[in-house]
């Protein structure tokens, strides 16, 4: 654990954040484990098309619901498609959704939060709006949005991003509010520095460390939520395999071949576990105050 907490009274550098993250990584084996597993998963998923696997979409009606064999390492699903190939390819969508949601929610939330934190007029309106958005349970909102827009990967990403934005906005806003009255900010205002410049140069860097931590958790949650959406039939289109929709399609067959749920479930759980342990390590290193936020 790093004992170098960020003091909000001095504007910190993003580079410094990375340095302490790197430091933590060297000293924290679980965090390193998370990162290694995550990298491995990304390699397996995005490398899948180049490993010479069976076509993940190819149906073989005569080879349905098979147990693992030499030809099909993890067996086949109800259409005789190769599960191994599907599970590896499926990681692409799941990771893509996870990373995109984390990135988009952080970026959008950061922008809104900075502005809301600095302008009292905007703040009143925006925060009411965010409170309302937060009072709709995230997964319900996402399901409703996908039902509305139709199932496609971009729609799923957007539908999972929207419920996350308010949480980021709150986080950023709280940092901004804390810094707004600090001397170095007041001094910058007094010296005639433009608001935009103050936000970008002095305030934003301080929001980055907690945001990175928050982003890893959002990424983990988005991977799981993508699976939930697919499971209830409002996810990514079944033609492109994702961990979620492989499991969703296999659920009627879980007595015949539990592997259709178990293998993608295992890959997903390992990935999310890795992201979470990585996130926990980051949090300890970057933002000890966040420990209380779970």
């Amino acid at each position: 654990m790093s004992d170098k907490p960020f003091t909000p009274s001095e504007p910190s550098r993003i580079a410094e954040a990375f340095a302490s993250a790197w430091d933590a990584l060297r000293r924290n084996p679980t965090m390193l484990f998370g990162l290694v597993v995550l990298t491995l998963m990304a390699f397996l998923s995005f490398g899948a098309p180049y490993f010479g696997l069976l076509d993940p979409l190819r149906q073989n009606p005569m080879d349905r619901l098979q147990d693992p064999t030499l030809q099909y390492f993890l067996g086949t699903d109800m259409y005789g498609r190769d599960l191994f190939s599907r599970v590896l390819h499926g990681g692409q969508i799941s990771l893509l959704v996870g990373l995109s949601v984390a990135f988009l929610a952080t970026t959008i939330g950061l922008a809104i939060g900075l502005i809301a934190g600095f302008s009292r007029r905007v703040d009143a309106v925006v925060m009411r709006f965010m409170d309302a958005l937060m009072s709709i349970p995230a997964i319900l909102l996402a399901i409703a949005l996908v039902a509305l827009w139709g199932s496609s990967v971009p729609n799923v990403i957007l539908a999972l991003t929207i419920p996350e934005v308010p949480r980021v906005v709150r986080l950023v806003r709280s940092v901004v509010l804390m810094l707004r009255d600090q001397t170095f900010v007041q001094a910058a205002i007094a010296s005639g520095t433009s608001t935009a410049r103050i936000l970008v140069r002095h305030i934003m860097p301080n929001t980055i460390p907690p945001l990175i931590v928050q982003a890893t958790y959002m990424c983990a949650q988005a991977v799981i939520f993508e699976a939930y959406l697919s499971f209830v039939g409002a996810g990514t289109p079944p033609e492109i395999p994702s961990w979620g929709n492989i499991m969703a399609e296999g659920r009627s067959y879980f007595f015949q071949n539990f592997g259709i749920i178990m293998f993608p479930g295992l890959f997903l759980a390992i990935t999310v576990f890795a992201i979470n342990t990585f996130g926990d390590g980051l949090r300890d290193a970057l933002d000890p105050r966040m420990q209380r936020r779970v």
Partner: protein, 313 residues
């Protein structure tokens, strides 16, 4: 204090109003023509026109919203496109299983999570702590339905202890109810448990460093007494807040769990409505869930006034 309670209650009104606006816009931003969705298969252009006129779909959006809101406030949530039944009736039919499943889940999760969290904080840095925390992170990492199906395979098919699916109303048979609700409640409870256990540990760690706890130790009080009477009692406020906020997780999980275990509750109603793009039902369910969520959290907030003497308004 009453002024505070009233102020807090009033503050939920604009929030629920905004939620209503979102929910209203859901249907009206949909890509399809609501009239065509309602009319079904063989609708002619005249049918569609009739329906649009009847539902007022030709009016400006804000007029439609006000009309919808007016009916909503009178308890009229519209009519399901799919079955033609009033939405409030469909929701009412499904309340019992979801309510009881949620309650059972909370009971199981809280009774397990708080002792685990306290234990981890007390034994911080040891293998006990690490084990509890690893299980907690796992709880966040395993999708609810994977756990659900694993429990079905083990508990229902392997051991034969529990029925595989379905729901028995508590009035019909209490034993039947318990047997049916146990696996779903366990399934749903894991994430919630993970959340509460982590929060308990984190708060306890903080509290254990406070002076008064050290003093209590120094006075030679028994560890158990210090942990529970001094530390946990003071840690309860943030833990209770987490219990309230974590309800969102349960509500999300209900949707999936009820599907796995074929429980005819609000979650299944939501999923069915989504699959059939039955917008009035989707709107109704979201409103009910959000309102419940907001009110429960408000109740929890207000309860601090009574439970924690240090909090004064």
């Amino acid at each position: 204090m009453y002024a505070y309670v009233i102020r807090r209650l009033l503050a939920t009104i604009p929030i629920m109003g905004l939620v209503a606006v979102f929910v209203f816009l859901l249907l009206h931003m949909s890509p399809g023509d609501p009239a065509a969705i309602i009319a079904g298969d063989n609708a002619t252009e005249e049918n569609l026109e009739q329906i649009r006129a009847l539902l007022g779909l030709n009016d400006p959006l804000h007029i439609q919203f006000l009309r919808w809101l007016e009916r909503l406030l009178q308890g009229d949530m519209g009519v399901s496109i799919y079955s033609g039944l009033p939405v409030e009736r469909l929701i009412w039919q499904r309340v019992e299983p979801t309510l009881l499943l949620t309650l059972m889940t909370m009971i199981i999760a809280i009774t397990l999570a708080i002792p685990l969290g306290v234990l981890a904080a007390w034994k911080v840095g040891t293998w006990v702590d690490r084990l509890v925390m690893t299980v907690a992170v796992l709880g966040f990492s395993v999708p609810v339905f994977v756990l659900g199906y694993t429990l079905v395979l083990g508990g229902s098919i392997g051991l034969g202890w529990f029925p595989v699916q379905g729901y028995t109303p508590i009035r019909e048979s209490f034993t039947g109810f318990l047997l049916h609700i146990t696996l779903p409640a366990l399934t749903l409870g894991l994430v919630y448990m993970a959340l509460i256990a982590r929060m308990t540990r984190a708060t306890m760690l903080e509290v254990l460093n406070e002076d008064y706890v050290r003093t209590a130790y120094a006075k030679g009080l028994a560890t158990r007494k210090v942990l529970i009477k001094h530390a946990l009692k003071n840690a309860m406020v943030p833990i209770t807040t987490t219990i309230g906020l974590g309800l969102a997780l349960i509500i999300g999980g209900v949707v999936v769990t009820e599907t796995v275990f074929s429980i005819p509750g609000l979650g299944r109603l939501t999923v069915d409505a989504v699959l059939r793009t039955d917008y009035p039902v989707i709107q109704g369910v979201i409103l009910v869930f959000s309102l419940t969520y907001v009110l429960l959290n408000l109740l929890i907030d207000l309860s601090y006034v009574f439970f924690d003497p240090r909090i004064r308004y």
